[in-house]
């Protein structure tokens, strides 16, 4: 035997086993995932779709397991993106073992998913999670009836206390060693068995189906899937369908199947629950308060306010610290680098540009920490419930309001926070409308212009800007859903999960997983963009005079479009720089007008009329999202298409608004 074969043998024995984990939303799937993998995990996107996949790994008895977290779903049909991803993944057979997570206090609803997995024929483990909570409520569960009837391992766990972890690992290990496991078979009533047999008999005559589903030709998965969800995404040939319809009353059979399944599941579950326990009292009282007409709304407003103000008050000192650190870094570099263009590239381009965006890191991480708290504790769906009616007028659901409020802090986390919106159409419209939420980076521009032109009506103008910004987000999402974003409209059906106290560990993992996207994906694009802008302002005269740089020339190109608004090339060039990040508008005006920021007020008063200043304020409110936001849009929509759309769309809208404001403002000012 050669060395190589020997090595091969060793590798087969210790081959990494892939386990996937699936369950309804809110069953504690993520906590279990965290429990098994600890920090050995990363987030990726499924190819071609925006659904996230979390991958982690753990070792047990020297064997490495790869754990894939599938999206939280109720069924495995192909209707929603999450369900389709999970279904396709599971039938593609890459996962050896599937862990189905069920909630001890809500066992029944997970059984539908479990049945579908047994049909697919993978090695399945049922994990009944949160047994500690169930025990507190007085519920006692005996896993053996389910285990014996379905012939699968059933394990009681608590992701919170770690109970059952060893047992689960042992069971997974045992299953991974077993080869050629006999496929589990569910015994259906005769009528359904007849249908399954007929289906399987005929299928072999249609090579198209048998090649597409070659792994499932002998299993009952295909006929059962057909009964449950119809033929739409199975792509069965028309003559095959006709043959089925001639021999069976499909609609009637479907009802019989569903009835059988409900009865079977409730029988199975009730035989496993030895004692019911009471779950409602405290939860009901809390829900009564949280959904109350007056109290509920007060708590909602308070929660939004608290998240918003805590985020910014806690983050500000850290941001300032980072800001000084970047300034210090810039200064140190200028001392060492003596080549003027390189110094300018590093200090004015890379460090100023990338640093200007990186100072948002504290905001983003702190925000996700609080948002994670609201989500994991179970408050977020209740908040969505409260305001759903209002949001619906604009084609949104209650969940969207939270994202809009976040947008006033920074558009980047706001856009990332739309991940939990199930309706794809709503989500896309919201992502593209969120840049109109006036983020905090635009505030310095407003303050500069308002103090220069409208100091007597400062508060009024500020209020007007913010109200217009909210109105614009809402109207835009309504408009986009009507004309641009097209996909199936899913009704708003959500579950109110039980209240839970989030653990610090889960919150940290949540915060890190979401926050690091900002670092990874936005980082590269911002770097390229800031270097590009630096090139435009540095050349062709090597930084001696910004007024004759390429950037200034571009500003002049736009003059025909902006002259009637009273904006000359200097204003335009500042706006172009502002595309990188809105704060840059102010500092670039200081550079272009060649004055300190203190005397910028006078310079602007000479350059603009009140009406053109007002138009400029509203233009800044609406125009092109910053590079970090564009990068986020690209990441969240999985492609450049919508980022480019957003670039053009916001500019057109901003230009129209600026013209409108200039015209109306001209009458009053």
């Amino acid at each position: 035997m050669s060395k190589d074969t020997l090595k091969d043998n060793v590798e087969t024995v210790d081959k990494e086993a892939e386990i996937s984990i699936i369950g309804n939303p809110n069953v504690g799937k993520t906590s279990l995932f965290n429990l098994l993998t600890g920090t050995k995990q990363y987030v990726a996107n499924w190819p071609g779709v925006t659904v996230e996949k979390k991958i982690g790994s753990f070792k047990y008895k020297g064997k490495t397991f790869k754990l894939v977290d599938l999206p939280g779903v109720y069924t495995l049909s192909a209707k929603s993106e999450d369900e389709r991803v999970a279904k396709d993944y599971l039938i593609s057979n890459t996962s050896e073992i599937v862990i189905v997570v069920a909630d001890a206090l809500n066992l029944e609803s997970s059984m539908f998913l479990l049945f579908q997995l047994i049909e697919i024929g993978v090695k399945t483990i049922l994990v009944i999670n949160s047994v500690d909570e169930a025990r507190e409520k007085g519920r006692i569960i005996d896993p053996s009836p389910i285990s014996k009837t379905l012939n699968i391992p059933v394990i009681l766990t608590s992701a919170k206390t770690g109970e059952g972890k060893e047992e689960l690992l042992e069971e997974a290990y045992k299953l991974s060693k077993e080869k050629n496991l006999t496929k589990k078979k569910i015994m259906y009533p005769e009528e359904i068995e007849n249908f399954i047999n007929f289906f399987q008999d005929k299928v072999s005559k249609y090579p198209k189906i048998s090649s597409k589903y070659q792994n499932y030709i002998d299993s009952s998965w295909l006929p059962i899937y057909f009964l449950e969800f119809g033929s739409e995404d199975l792509e069965l040939p028309q003559d095959f369908l006709t043959e089925l319809k001639e021999n069976f009353d499909i609609e009637d059979l479907k009802n019989k199947y569903l009835n059988w399944k409900f009865n079977f599941i409730s029988y199975l579950v009730s035989s496993s629950i030895i004692k019911e326990g009471i779950d409602w009292s405290l939860r009901d009282i809390l829900d009564h308060v949280f959904t109350h007409k007056i109290l509920g709304i007060l708590i909602y407003v308070f929660a939004l306010f608290a998240v918003f103000s805590l985020t910014f008050s806690l983050a500000q000192p850290l941001s300032d610290l980072l800001d000084s650190a970047f300034t210090f870094l810039g200064n140190s570099i200028s001392e060492f680098v003596t080549i003027p263009w390189l110094e300018s590239l590093l200090v004015d381009g890379v460090i100023a540009g990338v640093g200007g965006v990186l100072v948002f890191i504290p905001q983003i991480f702190i925000l996700f920490f609080f948002l994670g708290f609201l989500e994991e504790s179970g408050y977020l769906p209740r908040a969505a419930f409260l305001v759903d009616r209002i949001a619906r007028n604009f084609g949104l659901s209650g969940r969207s309001f939270m994202s809009i409020i976040l947008g006033f802090g920074c558009n980047v986390p706001a856009i990332i926070s739309t991940k939990t919106i199930a309706n794809k159409k709503e989500r896309l419209a919201l992502i593209l409308s969120l840049p109109f939420a006036s983020c905090s980076a635009r505030l310095p521009v407003y303050i500069l212009l308002i103090s220069a032109f409208f100091s007597t009506h400062a508060a009024t103008i500020m209020l007007l800007v913010y109200l217009s910004s909210i109105a614009l987000v809402l109207i835009s999402s309504k408009f986009l859903q009507r004309f641009i974003t097209q996909s199936e409209d899913i009704p708003f059906i959500i579950e109110l999960p039980r209240f839970r106290m989030p653990t610090l560990k889960n919150l940290s993992i949540y915060t890190w997983n979401r926050g690091k996207h900002f670092l990874q994906k936005a980082g590269g694009i911002i770097l390229i963009a800031t270097v590009l802008i630096w090139l435009l302002s540095f050349f062709p005269n090597f930084g001696t005079d910004i007024n004759s740089s390429f950037a200034a020339s571009i500003g002049r190109v736009f003059e025909p479009l902006t002259n009637h608004l009273g904006w000359d090339w200097r204003i335009n060039t500042g706006l172009i720089f502002g595309v990188a990040a809105k704060e840059i508008v102010v500092s670039s005006y200081a550079t272009i007008f060649n004055v300190g920021e203190g005397s910028l007020t006078y310079a602007l008063q000479n350059a603009l009329t009140p009406a053109s200043a007002l138009a400029l304020i509203f233009f800044v409110m609406a125009y092109i999202p910053c590079f970090a936001t564009l990068a986020t849009i690209k990441a969240e929509t999985n492609g450049w298409k919508w980022a480019i759309f957003s670039f053009i769309y916001t500019t057109v809208v901003a230009y129209l608004i600026a013209n409108l404001v200039f015209f109306v403002g001209g009458i009053f000012l």
């Binding site: 109720y74 049909s77 409900f262 109110l496």
Partner: protein, 152 residues
Amino acid sequence: MLIPLHNLFIGQKGKIVSLNIEGESTKNRLIAMGITPGKFIELAHVSPFGDPLVFKIGEKKVVLRRSEASRIIVDVPYKVFNLLESEIGKYEIIDIKGGRNFVEEMRSMGLYKGVNINLVNKLGNRIIIEVDGKKYELGRGRASKIFCKKVE
């Protein structure tokens, strides 16, 4: 008696009879969430703006909009009338919804669960009822908080 789900009053239970939902995916989602024929479902909370609604089903609380709830048919032992919307006739009070003060005040008038009342007249915003031979006048707000069933 069969009524659409959104016509339950808070705290009332009904047995699900059918789901007349058109979209296959929505229907399957509801079924997978446990909203299946034969099960009991209870209206638990109503949003401050009247829509959506929270229903309790088994160990679950599910949020549905009125539009979806109206297509789910439930069986209740009897139709519940809101006194405000009731016609003239005899009724039995099955629940009074409101704060403690309101419930106490109604009790002092002899209005509580299980009492038979006679709705004698409706005059615009005033609803005249007779309890134990005494006549009372209720405004719209108060009447809307009293739920009753018809006495044949």
